[in-house]
Amino acid sequence: MADWLTHSLVGWITGKTTKRDIALIVIGSLIPDLVKINLAFIWLNLNDHQFFEPLHTPIGAVLIAGIIAISFNDIRKAFIPLIIGISTHFILDFFLVHVHGGIKLLFPFSWEGWQYNLIRSDDYRMTIVAILAALLVYSIYWFFARQKKQKTRS
């Protein structure tokens, strides 16, 4: 797993550049990691029998997005950014190194896991890159917003 900060920053950059609802994209980018509820079971020395694992599959995350979207006035308008966020999560996790297996993209139709094995999940440099990229995007938008403001004044 990549850390939540990297996921949320990638979600923020995606939301900012696609001009979609940033908050919902960022929420979506963390939905698959609801699987981390299992840490509470590990901490309590209980076996969860991998009950929560489907949350870290596209189908499980999309179902969660659907459930969340119901609590918004316009279900469709909430659902789409949540799905975009979920996509950023899986794209990022797809590049993580594992010794075997990977993300079960086609669950429940297939149990096969896919992984590209490029970045180690404990590599903090990925977080630094995400922070720098977010700062760059923020600076670019801030610069153009300032220029626009100055033009309207003059």
Binding site: D21, A23, I67, W111, S121
Partner: protein, 159 residues
């Protein structure tokens, strides 16, 4: 919240819970977990398996690792034999992901080994913490919960 939304929510939730139950009951037939492998090791003997554990001891002379398998509750100790990986920086407490051939209940010949140093592994969780206030701020800056309609509404300045 109207009845259609409640029905839709219940429908989606029931599919999700169904998938979770299916995964929970069937995963050992496709992607067995560590505890299942150790409980049924005869079934997996001389086959390739993936195990996750914590380093308890490092023997650099024989290039072997003693790792504790299973986090909840610990299922015992397994001797891990690695022939190719460099164990010079490996320390007790590090996290190990291993893919290899199970040669007995207590040994595995590693084909691939992924070792995360203890501090680096803990740092993943520490790095995750700032995301919580960041996400909360982003969300509640744009949305607020209406207790009358039981729905999230966009705040006026973000309308």
């Amino acid at each position: 919240m109207n009845h259609h939304r409640i029905l839709l929510g219940c429908f989606l939730l029931s599919i999700l819970i169904g998938l979770m139950i299916y995964y929970s009951f069937d995963h050992n037939n496709h992607d067995p977990d560590t505890e299942y492998i150790l409980d049924h090791y005869e079934q997996f003997n001389n086959t390739k398996v993936t195990l996750i554990g914590e380093v308890k001891d490092v023997d650099r002379t024989n290039n072997t690792l003693l790792i504790q398998i299973g986090q909840s509750p610990p299922k015992g100790i397994i001797l891990l034999i690695s022939t190719t990986e460099n164990l010079n920086t490996t320390q007790p407490g590090d996290n190990v992901e291993v893919y290899g051939v199970l040669t007995s209940k207590n040994s595995i010949t590693a084909e691939k080994l992924l070792i995360s140093e203890r501090w680096a592994y803990s740092l993943i969780f520490i790095r995750s913490l700032p995301a919580i206030p960041f996400v909360m701020y982003l969300f509640f800056r744009t949305w607020r919960f209406n207790r009358n309609t039981y729905r999230f509404e966009r705040r006026e300045k973000h309308g």
